[in-house]
Symmetry: C2
Subunit: 228 residues, 2 copies
């Protein structure tokens, strides 16, 4: 327990595309229950956290014998890290759809905001956040990976878009990083803490939209060029 896997992701015997499978047929696919194991582990880990989840529970959920599970993953920590890595990738894809450059600034912000808030609202988003935050002490490098492949990535893309808009003269921004952070945080207003601390498990749809709408208005009031 220590330096292994300190960065990067595991790719543990699952071809993650068609091209890979074509190049090396049947290399590491050691069994057919691999996906079941991952699916079961994801369910249980997201529900119970690392300590709360027992390997027996995971095996049962996966519909797989414990021996099979251990045939794929030598220990519980590696399985946990693999799940977290997968969730990072999924989170990235969640925000991956391209932004149309022909949009107005408001429309672009609105779209980005709805996606950011939507992720937080999803069961998966909530559980993943809680999991990574809670287990961050035991797995610091994992929390960092999650951050880099999730929040940080969203931040960078947003800052990139803002940069272009500022160059076009549609926005007036001096500190791009700060502006991007501000917008992201504003989208979470009214919803973040209530979710994290389990106040309202499912906030009303209109409250979320209201939050994003408010974020856009505020952002434009500060950085918009039209004045009076």
């Amino acid at each position: 327990m220590g330096g292994l896997l300190s960065c990067g992701f595991l790719t543990y015997g699952r071809e993650n595309g068609v091209s890979m499978a074509q190049v090396v047929e049947q290399v590491v696919r050691r069994g057919r229950k691999f996906d079941q194991v991952l699916a079961g582990a994801r369910t249980i880990f997201l529900r119970d956290g690392f300590d709360g989840a027992s390997v027996d529970d995971i095996a049962r959920q996966a519909g797989v014998s414990k021996a099979t599970l251990y045939a794929y993953f030598p220990d519980k920590q590696l399985l946990f890290k693999e799940i977290c890595s997968q969730e990072c990738l999924r989170q990235t894809q969640e925000v991956e759809a391209e932004i149309d450059p022909a949009m107005t600034v408001e429309a672009m912000l609105m779209l980005a905001g709805v996606r950011i808030a939507g992720f937080l609202m999803s069961d998966f988003g909530q559980n993943a956040c809680r999991l990574v935050i809670g287990e961050g002490a035991r797995f610091p490098e994992l929390a960092r990976d999650f951050y880099r492949n999730g929040p940080a990535l969203v931040h960078d893309r947003l800052a990139h878009h803002l940069h272009h808009l500022a160059q076009n003269g549609q926005l007036q921004i001096d500190d791009l990083d700060l502006a991007a952070d501000q917008f992201i945080q504003l989208c979470k207003a009214s919803i973040l803490e209530k979710l994290v601390f389990r106040m309202d498990h499912h906030l009303r749809e209109d409250r979320v939209r209201q939050s994003v709408q408010g974020a856009v208005e505020m952002f434009m009031a500060r950085y918009g060029v039209q004045r009076g």
Copy 2:
């Protein structure tokens, strides 16, 4: 495990003031190691979380025998809840200093913002947040108490101040709750996720001030009355 202590705090045999002690001398103070137990438990729980902390570790840290510990607290959960309750109160006190009504709007916002950000920056604030979020699944009512006595309380006081400022004509706000949430979130911009996900354990002081400064500017751009 269930309904007990579903709301409210434990007051487990420690006079929490002088008046109490004067009224009932020597009621529940069954021993002199009470404070040591609490101190040790706080250290270990904040460091390791609920599952990660073993009762033996706590006793050792407290400089107290396990038997003594169990003489005060019948089980681990009750001790944990007591610690969390204490941390809630402490968090409340953290933001308790009164606001001078003669201040300018900007100065008031700056003060409030620095306090909010300061709490997040503190080791205690970070650990407490992680603890409550991570253990929220096991102790949902505890996460709610923490939220009510912390973030929600800050929100309410801020909204109250904003209400007065709006009545005085110094601000133009239609949705007070939203405005309060927005300001609070803005203060966390640039620092929250980096802390929660353990990117930079100690951000530079100036970056925090910059964040709060940016929050005030943005807030005034949106809700200030001076226009052009």
